[in-house]
């Protein structure tokens, strides 16, 4: 390495600079998301062999639809966690935006107006979260913990803590949106695929995405290079809230009613999915693919326990083990890398 001043060393230097260190396969094997995907795939194969009811179209339809809601919110959570933050308010934001939608449609307004209101409120909540975090520098954990309480309370106040199950003239449209399917695929799954592609694209191919990774790894560096960190953080929390809002709208349509306990403690499943998928709670790492696979794995565990006739009380134990195992594997690999 030290003798790179000579003339014929220039060619060697050229070769070193142009060389790629890892091929496609190497990069894939180095991703926690890949191993979790493998685990999910194995679980699918094992279930198909052991439980007749698993590989039926109806069960697969249900499984994919069930995890779509958590996975959609996990897209937003992935971006937040990559940026070095956390958003505990997503479950409550889901409830609040579903409630806004329900109240608006219940009052006779069309679906489009309800959706617009619901998303506007979600974005407003995200803006408040982001502004408090970015401008007042209150830790994200505190801000969003407060918002978890506030948003659900707002939903209770607005609805008088009553269930809303009548959605006015566009009721059928809403039920079709959240509960229906297109070419045999549940609509929430289609929404998930589109939003996941968009989020993955934004993280990989836009300046915004690069800056999200940058502030997650070294916020000071981001400031020094002139990145507008406060604006970026606000956009991150608005994105997360918007995903929760979308999930809330779809969920209202699927369930056909909105109660004030909708999405209660859902933030924990979402964070679990994101972490299983390889996101680092310290910031700077995480993938869309991983988070979606993580969400799928959690639902697979739940579904398999039901199909295998094991008490669903065990679900928490299995999911909990997976969270710890996934991160433990990652740590072991990291140790090996630093040793080599």
């Amino acid at each position: 390495m030290p003798d790179n001043s000579g003339a014929n060393a220039a060619g060697a230097l050229e070769a070193v600079i142009d060389r790629q260190s890892h091929g496609m396969v190497g990069r894939m094997l180095g991703q926690q998301a890949f191993w979790v995907f493998l685990a999910a795939l194995l679980a699918c194969v094992a279930l198909s062999l052991t439980a007749d009811a698993f590989a039926t179209p109806q069960n697969l339809f249900n499984v994919t639809r069930n995890f779509a809601f958590v996975a959609i919110i996990a897209l937003g959570m992935t971006v937040v966690i990559v940026s070095g933050g956390i958003d505990l308010s997503v479950g409550s934001v889901l409830c609040l935006s579903a409630m806004i939608l329900a109240i608006t449609m219940n009052a006779g307004y069309p679906l489009a107006v309800g959706v617009a209101f619901a998303l506007a409120v979600a974005l407003l909540v995200g803006f408040v979260n982001g502004a408090l975090i970015a401008w007042l520098r209150i830790p994200p954990f505190i801000v969003t913990l407060g918002m978890l309480s506030i948003a659900r309370s707002a939903a209770m106040v607005l609805s008088g803590n009553k269930m809303i199950f009548q959605f006015g003239p566009d009721e059928k449209l809403l039920f079709a949106l959240g509960g229906g399917s297109t070419t045999g695929i549940p609509n929430p799954v289609i929404a998930l695929v589109l939003l996941a592609l968009a989020t993955g694209f934004a993280l990989r191919w836009t300046r915004w995405g690069t800056h999200v990774f940058a502030i997650g790894a070294n916020e000071k560096a981001a400031v020094l290079t002139g990145i507008g960190v406060p604006r970026l953080k606000i956009s991150v929390y608005m994105f997360s809230a918007a995903m929760a809002g979308v999930a809330g709208i779809l969920m209202a349509g699927w369930l056909g009613g909105v109660t004030t306990n909708l999405g209660q403690s859902m933030e924990l499943s979402v964070i679990a999915a994101t972490v299983i998928g390889g996101a680092n709670l310290l910031g700077g790492a995480g993938t869309v693919f991983g988070s979606v696979v993580g969400a799928a794995l959690i639902e697979l565990i739940r579904n398999s326990l039901i199909l295998l006739g094991i008490s669903t009380f065990w679900q928490g134990a299995f999911v909990g083990c997976f969270i710890v195992l996934a991160v433990a594997f990652d740590r072991i690999r990291a140790y090996r890398e630093t040793d080599g």
Partner: protein
């Protein structure tokens, strides 16, 4: 050609006089070691040049024109770049993306503006080649040695074609072999006509690479000598105060 000239720079914070009447000049392609004990005023001086502080008194001239910086961005626009001690790099991003952080290259695809990775990698590869550093543009900074990290941070200053580079303790926390690599990087900057201010505690590094050494003590410039005309012993004496003035 004089790249940077300071005339009678003073700075006080309340009753504390951090710098008094410091004048110096720096030519293009010159490496100046800035030395002094903790609290001697090195970092205050650097922060004034970098636009973080405004001097209480005195003037700053770049290529003969008087400048007033209202912030680090002004200094950057005037062709001054700083390589921070902790380098301000993002471990999770590639070397090329780090070089371009905050000024990424993009291209249009339909209505979208997407990052132009091939162009950034190619440009970064050229910069690393010019610095004669074995740094691969696509590699994540996480897996890089201290010397390669320095190369990434320095390549960033070359991207903007800075005339003046301030380096804050670049060799403080790296291995001996990497120190040699960093000193080579500084020589490359010099060869390309960049004026370098090297803030360092390490006497061998300064005597290895600098043309001149400036010593500050208690906010005053106590020496400004060509490396050939001084010795590590003399500089140590000047830093500690054993030698009053040179």
């Amino acid at each position: 050609m004089t790249a940077l000239r300071l005339e009678g720079i003073s700075k006080h914070f309340g009753a504390i006089q951090a710098l008094s009447d410091v004048s110096l000049s720096l030519a293009a392609g010159e490496v100046v070691g800035l030395m002094g004990d903790n609290g001697a005023g090195k970092s205050t001086l650097v922060k004034i040049i970098a636009g973080n502080f405004r001097p209480t008194q005195g003037g700053m001239f770049i290529k003969g024109r008087e400048m007033q910086f209202h912030g680090p961005l002004d200094a950057r626009r005037a062709g001054i770049e700083i390589v921070y001690q902790d380098l301000a790099l993002c471990d999770n991003l590639s070397a090329a993306v780090n070089v371009f952080l905050g000024r990424e290259l993009t291209r249009s695809v339909g209505p979208l503006r997407i990052l132009d990775y091939p162009a950034m990698n190619a440009r970064a590869a050229t910069l690393f080649r010019e610095l004669r550093s074995e740094t691969r543009p696509r590699d994540k900074v996480k897996s890089m040695s201290g010397g390669q990290r320095q190369a990434v941070a320095i390549a960033r200053t070359r991207l903007s074609d800075a005339d003046i580079v301030l380096m804050d303790e670049p060799t403080a926390a790296i291995s001996v072999r990497q120190v040699a690599e960093v000193l080579n990087l500084i020589r490359e900057l010099k060869r390309q006509g960049v004026a370098v201010v090297l803030i360092s505690h390490r006497m061998p590094d300064v005597f290895n690479v600098a043309d001149r050494v400036i010593v500050l003590r208690r906010g005053r410039k106590v020496a400004d000598k060509a490396i050939a005309a001084t010795s590590p012993e003399e500089v140590t004496g000047l830093i500690t105060g054993a030698i009053e003035h040179a």
